[in-house]
């Protein structure tokens, strides 16, 4: 049986847990003082890849683009999905890229991976600003069918198709679950609510086995780590980094502050004047637009 070829693109993110994060006085993130970790959404993407490994058998490769030392994130990703290959794309010229400039690098990286990919996984979004465009843009550049918000999936190895359930949250109507079938290869951006599920004892034993293997591998992750710069990736320098990015951050300002803290005004429910005041406050609260 030929194994599935799976790639996972992950992102190194600041560790937002208390005790790890630092802010500058102006409210911006102090990156040099803040520890980095595997982004939580990336971790879920790695878990989704692990599902395929246990259920169908797969060779998993992980790729990340980072200017920081992303080793610990790659190590965590490896431990999550028992990957065999780790790619780090690191070059000064990659810095400052917007999503499309980032997507170009990751596309090149995936093409460098051994064999043609059947599925690429990414997280739903990142917690530090990126809002989920990179995944679909990589997919488009690769020419893979993009499936977003995937909450579960299965693969038909004979037909070489994937069936996935997608959760669509749309303001104004109830959530929708769409079941979709697509031929491989596909690019799956996994929904944050994704959780793999193994329904037999033997699959669970297999999962346990791979988890232990992953743990061992992750301890020696450096053996499998490969680093690429733009040259080695064969990246077109006009398509990556700042030069390849259509958008720039023009200005940063403070969000106009609402109330700093709540100081409850104590009113008497039997006093008509107080009732009037409350209702007025309610109506004012509803008239205030979000930020305008």
């Amino acid at each position: 049986m030929t194994l599935l070829n799976i790639a996972v693109v992950v992102k190194l993110e600041p560790d937002f847990s208390e005790g790890s994060i630092s802010y500058n006085p102006d409210g911006t993130l102090n990156r040099s003082q803040t520890k980095s970790t595997l982004g939580p959404h990336s971790k879920i993407a790695a878990q989704a890849a692990f599902y395929a490994k246990v259920k169908y058998g797969a060779k998993i490769s992980i790729g990340t683009m980072s200017g920081h030392i992303a080793n610990s994130a790659l190590q965590m990703a490896m431990e999550t999905c028992d990957a065999e290959v780790l790619h780090l794309y690191n070059d000064k010229i990659f810095a400052g890229a917007d999503t499309i400039g980032t997507a170009e690098v990751l596309k090149k990286g995936i093409e460098k991976m051994d064999g043609k990919m059947d599925i690429v996984f990414s997280g739903h979004r990142a917690t530090d600003g990126e809002t989920g465009q990179t995944g679909p843009q990589i997919a488009w550049k690769l020419g893979f069918t993009f499936l977003g918000n995937v909450i579960s999936y299965d693969i038909n190895l004979e037909k070489r198709t994937v069936t996935a359930k997608r959760l669509l949250s749309l303001r104004g109507i109830s959530d929708l679950i769409q079941e979709i079938e697509a031929p491989l290869p596909v690019f799956i951006a996994i929904d944050p609510s994704y959780k793999y599920y193994f329904s037999t004892a033997s699959l669970r034993l297999t999962a346990e086995k791979y988890q232990r293997e992953a743990h061992e591998r992750a301890n020696n992750y450096k053996d499998r780590l490969q680093t690429f710069d733009s040259e080695e990736l064969g990246a077109d320098k006009t398509l990556v980094g700042l030069v390849g990015s259509p958008t720039i951050v023009y200005d940063v300002q403070r969000v106009p502050q609402g109330k700093v803290i709540r100081h409850a005004e104590i009113l008497d429910g039997s006093n008509p004047e107080h009732i009037r005041k409350t209702v007025t406050a309610m109506r004012e609260a509803l008239n205030a637009m979000v930020i305008k």
Binding site: T28, L29, T99, A103, D128, G129, T131, G132, Q133, G135, Q137, A139, W140, T145, F146, L167, L168, S169, L170, R171, G172, S174, D175, L176, I177, Q178, E179, E181, A189, T238, V243, P246, T247, I248, V249, Y250, D251, V252, V255, K259, R262, H263, A264, E265, I266, G269, S270, H274, I275, K277, T278, V279, T280, A281, M282, R283, E284, A288, V290, I291
Partner: protein, 395 residues
């Protein structure tokens, strides 16, 4: 004056089986406001173009025009019935690049037309991804989760874009988004590369996806007129191998996100559960609010009629760590003491009113107004006052 290759704003409309989503009207409303001003300021006649894909959707064009569209491009085809990213991306690209469509929108600008000037999408499960792939295909930039838009002429000096020189970028869309920390508002621009030392490139359309609820829709006006343009999409056989097998709404879920106001109740209802819940029901109806509960209520603590219990005393309505975390503009906590468990589910609300007879209840520390009193007495008074104030507004 250089030739203008980029014209109009294209708004990608969202609907589910012919039911238009509110965000579609919000985008049209904002596009209309921006373009009325834009055309006046630059003495132009560019259009707000609604782009809608689907099957059996022609009847929606009228509504879109009533909400501010000058033109509606309708791709009505069996193959577009389902929301499939690949197919929709390609069709939207075809529409965006089509000179024939541009010709029908405004003949004066169609000669040099290459792509739209601006494009708006919704920042939701459909629009986020669709905007990403469409812009990857059109090879331009995208800002996400935008909640404010301004069009202006900007004098820019940027070490990559302009090579450090000052260059005037006309009709630039300033796209504002709140960054992840919640404290900072960043302005994103999509700018052509005009640095001669690097490759010169034009990036259009300037595009964004906008947060549902951030903009106000226009009041529908049946006097508005516009052109409806049919577009025959080309879908490849390969792409048709991607199939939607089923699509269904998630039932038995309580929708809090669509409501600006949430009214929740807790153990304070104990004196007459059935009666009090009915009173709260009335109150919520008057406010147009969704109803939430505190955790203990979901435990069948109080006896009430089967209808009331099965509607309200259910885990799906629980606000708190073991339920939903919400942040409506207005939150009214009735007879809720304010256990940590509950507070963490509602403390991000815009304005919080607590109604409670016990002034020592911890909810006092997380609300803006603490209205002391028994709910049985206070709510009827509030309802009466609300009625009066609403009448004043209408008059």
């Amino acid at each position: 004056m250089t030739k203008e290759h980029y014209r109009h704003v294209y708004v990608v409309i969202e609907h589910i089986d012919g039911e238009l989503l509110p965000v579609s009207f919000e985008m049209l409303g904002e596009a209309r406001r921006l373009f009325d001003d834009f055309n006046r300021r630059y003495d132009l006649n560019e259009k707000v173009v609604a782009v809608i894909l689907g099957h059996n959707i022609k009847n929606l064009s009228e509504t879109l025009i009533e909400h501010g569209a000058d033109a509606v491009v309708v791709a009505d085809h069996q193959d577009l019935k389902d929301l499939i990213n690949t197919i929709h991306t390609k069709v939207i690209s075809q529409i965006s690049l089509s000179k024939e469509i541009a010709e029908k929108i405004e003949p004066n600008y169609s000669q040099e037309f290459k792509k739209p000037r601006y494009m708006f999408f919704a920042a939701d499960s459909i629009g986020r991804h669709l905007s990403s792939t469409v812009l990857a295909d059109l090879d331009s930039g995208l800002a996400s989760d935008v909640n404010k838009l301004v069009i202006s002429d900007l004098d820019i000096s940027h070490f990559v874009k302009t090579g450090g020189k000052r260059i005037m970028y006309k009709k630039t869309l300033e796209m504002y988004r709140v960054d992840f920390s919640g404290f900072l508002w960043t302005t994103i621009l999509c700018l052509d590369n005009r640095n001669e030392k690097l490759s010169i490139r034009e990036y259009s359309p300037q595009s964004c996806n906008v947060i549902p609820g951030a903009f106000k829709p226009l009041k529908p006006d049946s006097k508005r007129s516009g052109v409806v343009i049919d577009f025959q999409p080309k879908v490849s056989d390969d792409d048709l191998k991607i199939k939607v097998l089923s699509q269904k709404f998630v039932e038995d879920k309580v929708d809090f996100d669509s409501y600006n106001t949430v009214v929740s109740f807790g153990r304070g209802i104990h004196e007459a559960p059935e009666k009090n819940i009915k009173l709260i029901e009335e109150f919520a109806k008057q406010l147009g609010a969704q109803i939430g509960i505190s955790l203990p209520i979901s435990k069948s603590v109080f006896s009430a009629s089967p209808t009331i219990s099965s509607t309200y005393m259910i885990p799906a309505r629980v606000i708190g760590t073991s339920g939903k975390e919400i942040s409506p503009m207005l939150y009214v906590a009735i007879g809720i003491s304010g256990a940590m468990q509950h507070v963490s589910g509602m403390e991000e609300s815009g304005f919080i009113i607590a109604i409670n007879p016990d002034e020592n209840a911890p909810i006092k520390n997380v609300c803006d107004i603490f209205l002391k009193g028994r709910l049985e007495e206070v709510i009827p008074l509030l309802m009466e006052e609300l009625k009066i104030q609403q009448q004043v507004v209408q008059a």
